[in-house]
Symmetry: C2
Subunit: 322 residues, 2 copies
């Protein structure tokens, strides 16, 4: 669920993206972040597109069709959150296999259920479904384009040496849910909800943008991977302290740092931003905001565990290098 970026980390997916940007040449100047930005009179539009495919991003054994729709919408809206944008609406492309749609004895219409899920997550952030397309497909496909407006866009590229690095909420719940489902084990209600119905951090992103966020990214590839994207785009070195990571109950910090599709926000804030500001954030959003590291001059991500250096866990990559 990685959108196209200009400043990229390592990995097969990014090699492919680089080839695409070369192909587009000058036309691709603005393809550099979670969202595309489009100036329109006095308004700036923030736009993001995010495809979810059966067998790649979800399995119909693990999720209801409504949850599949919710997750697809949440992924696109989360990109708007990371820009500090206010969503207006979404467009949805649905791909539907012919003649599938019976579940548990009763008949449900997968298309209607998926759209109910997209509509629910969209409504939860004050936006609506604007339109869509429907096509036959060998496997289920949900592609969501989210549109919003933004007063002060927060890119990935604005972090500076000296900035603190903070994360919203707690990490590891989505990875825990996925691991349990993969193993065919029972999933606790709260864990399942975390995996199946992630909350796009729209209010959090807007608050952080207003309070001077320098760079922001949503955690879709895992903390280690996404910190690498932010470091590369901002041309800084990112130091992360493993023991500071706010973890989901029962999840170890290493697993939390590797967990993908958490949809929390990683944000670089000026050094003056401190505990008092974090309490104000919590009062407004109901979420923790935890300082887990800092930016310095240099390149790449360095992760330490109680002061000792460690190899950063790899992020999730749809196209591992062959």
């Amino acid at each position: 669920m990685t959108p196209a970026h200009l400043a990229l980390g390592a990995g097969g997916e990014f090699d492919r993206l680089r080839a695409i940007f070369r192909a587009l040449g000058r036309g691709a100047r603005d393809l550099g972040d979670d969202c595309a930005l489009l100036r329109l009179g006095r308004t700036t539009l923030a736009l993001s597109i995010d495809a979810s495919l059966e067998g790649v991003h979800f399995r119909t054994e693990w999720l209801s069709f409504r949850e599949i729709g919710w997750r697809g919408g949440a992924a696109a809206l989360s990109d708007l959150a990371a820009e500090g944008a206010r969503p207006l609406g979404v467009l949805v492309s649905l791909g539907l296999p012919r003649g599938r749609g019976t579940r548990g004895g009763g008949r449900v219409d997968p298309a209607a259920e998926i759209m109910r899920g997209v509509a629910a997550v969209t409504k939860s952030v004050g936006a609506r479904v604007l339109g869509g397309d429907l096509t036959r497909s060998s496997r289920y496909l949900v592609d969501v384009c989210a549109i919003g407006t933004v007063d002060r866009p927060v890119r990935r590229s604005g972090a500076r040496p000296g900035d603190g690095l903070w994360v919203t909420g707690r990490l590891g719940g989505a990875g825990l849910g996925l691991a349990r489902l993969r193993a065919g084990r029972r999933v606790a209600t709260a864990v399942r909800r975390r995996f199946a119905r992630p909350q796009p951090r729209i209010a959090a992103g807007r608050w952080l943008a207003r309070r001077g966020a320098r760079a922001m990214i949503d955690l879709s590839d895992g903390l280690a991977g996404d910190a690498g994207h932010l470091a590369a785009a901002s041309r800084v070195r990112v130091a992360l302290e493993l023991e500071r990571i706010p973890c989901w109950p029962g999840v170890a910090p290493r697993a939390a740092a590797r967990s993908g599709e958490e949809y929390e926000l990683l944000v670089a804030l000026p050094r003056r931003f401190g505990a008092r500001e974090a309490r104000a954030f919590r009062a407004v959003t109901g979420l923790a905001l935890t300082r887990i590291g800092a930016c310095s001059a240099g390149r790449g991500v360095r992760m330490t565990d109680r002061g000792r250096g460690m190899t950063a866990p790899p992020g999730f990559d749809h196209f591992p290098a062959r």
Copy 2:
């Protein structure tokens, strides 16, 4: 490549869309046309999303990857043309199979080639690629979301009894190209170009919107099918005269009326719009504008062949009723 509409004709695809609209309830009020419209200050945004899938909309044996990208972009931009909108840009979701990409001895990067095609058609109408998403997929997937602005949106629903019904360009070339490719036969250069690189009728749509177009739709499902959508949305009866259809050389009127993915515009214009106005249109756009029928009180599409009634050829439907 049919976008979601509210006022729908017959067929399995439309039954599914109706179920989706029921599921969305009141939130779906605006899901009624080629484009979604979004009021933003003094501007109105026009948005459309259109998915192209390998095996459903294209085959890699028939088209180069660049042509696949061009066609995917053209389909979404054509919806903006039918609204009378000016495109600003597109977002693209690409789905790529792992380990495919060798063609004709040399290695091409399918992702870069597809994006070159999308960028070329987007540039041809004065817009640009704004962003994208890349994912692994079992088959090639190109999903394009087009964004534009529109001063005077032309919906499908505005035709009135007495309006003339006109069509831009000539029909049947795309169907001819498809039939030749399906049969494994040689395709003449002009026919291949018509099929592989359709031109979104942006300038034509904007001219017609300024000159009082009452209703407009782009021809993606075939003339007969799309005339049915316009008739249903406008709650009028549409009479089409087969012998008036401007046909591609070597294509019979019946085949031209059935040919899908032509991306010409079908437009309802007030009765006063006549041959003089059509000449002015041609002078500006280089395209023919031909009166092929009229609207009257009633419902449905009636097609005549030199005055004799005939059964309208069916439109293309991705989900034929079982």
